[in-house]
Amino acid sequence: MLSSPVPMPPQQPSDFGGLVRQLRDARGWTQEKLAREADLTVTSVSNVERGATKPSAETVEKIAAAFGLRPSELDPRRLARLVAEHAISFTQRRAITRLLLDIGEREVEAVIAFLDEQSKRKPRPK
């Protein structure tokens, strides 16, 4: 068992693809979103996650960059910890979402439009 200061997610697959999927899920990203962020095709992401193909060094680098990591940080132990951390922030995001939904329609749409505007201003990850 890995010792970790944060609660571990229920499943800890030791394989790279499984961890990539858990990290993606924890962020609430779809495969399309990860593919976009990593500049890969959806098929490539799907293949990596299912372990259907061994990812090239370039693919690993791109996936790492999409998650804001260095390729050397993409080891199972590090990923498992990240999944757990994201699981916590996921709970927080869930609470924020519920709060926004409770406030009202115009408010939700205003935040979506604001986020859209903001993301357009951000530089795209390389």
Partner: protein, 430 residues
Amino acid sequence: MSECPHPAKLLQLVSDGEYVPHLRECEKCRTFVDAATKAVRAFSDPSELEAAVRVQIEEVLRDTPERRWSSVFLDSRNTHLHRSVVVRDLRRRADELSGANPRQALSLSAAAVNVSDAMVAAGNPPAPELRFDALKLHSSLLREMGALDEALSVLGRAWAVADETEHREQYRATLSLCGAIIYAEPDLANFREAINLAEAAATVLDVCGDQRRAVIARHTKAYALTVMNRFEAAVPLLRGVVDEIVDAGGSAHDAAIAHALLALCYVRLGLYGDALDHARIAEHMHVELRETVDAARAAHVAARAIAGLGQFAAVREEFTRTADIVFQAGLFDVWCLLRLDYITAALADDGGADVRADAEGVARVAMTIGTTESTQRRRFTAEACNYLRLIATRDMLTYEVAEYVRNYVDRNAKQKPVKFIPPSGADFTM
């Protein structure tokens, strides 16, 4: 207390670091700014917030039996989900499921419409474009499930919503196209209305620059013309469709279907060389798309064209191969028609051809098919195929009678079922 600013405006002011005195006196706006600030920190773009909403929708769906999906969002505990972001998500889910599981897709599109209606009733209507899209998809799924009257009624509701959109004429033309497709369904079979609506839609959509839908409208009109046996009128339309469809943004699948329909028209007009060209193009495109059954159906049309060119012996096996693929896919009604094509082609090639076993097979399958066709339609088709079998058993089957039965079965599949009447002059009593 001063009037609450629009949330978007308020968010912009706060983001720009402006002092907003209203926030000191309004708790609701303070709560919003607090939640929005947290949201902006937690989510890097709208898709992440939408994903978080999706999780909440999934929880509701997971805890609800499928038969209640359409109404579960109306429960009092789910009023926080009466939001446009939820309507968009339910609509997207329905759209994604439409091919694989139309029944589930229909439940989800009904849910999207119900949430949208609840928001209208509460005085917070979603944008008319979103309401329109939800209704249009719901109508389309109702059509796929055979609920044609209901599909038309939902289109009527969308028509009223189209008036509220910025591009009213284009939205209405889109609805006319949807209406044309519904009227061309076999159980309504109002082809004149389908043609009128498709024509009107194509004209407006051309002007609006919606080339993709304009081409689909012309394809729909051409289809209705072929069902009415007006092949000469359908051909120029379909030639235009196959030339334009890809550039107009249509899918390769749609292009392949148009080539196949054009090939069928040429077969019916006796222009077998042209038929073969377009059938081969359709087959190639379907193969590329890995659409095995559609590819087999296109190859079957090619076989009919080759038989028409006087080379029936060369394609005898091809008729069987293509029909086998259709049979394995469970399309038994289509299989019957393909085998009737074979019997007709065999008799055209040799008036004395022994097709008794083939006629027996068609009659047996027609009697037992468990397709989604209406019972009456199935019974009438079975009666026609049984007539063919009896005639063949007595060595009285001619090319003319086989073609008569074949055309009846084809017509019966595409139009309202009409009882089979043996050809006039037939000296055989069933």
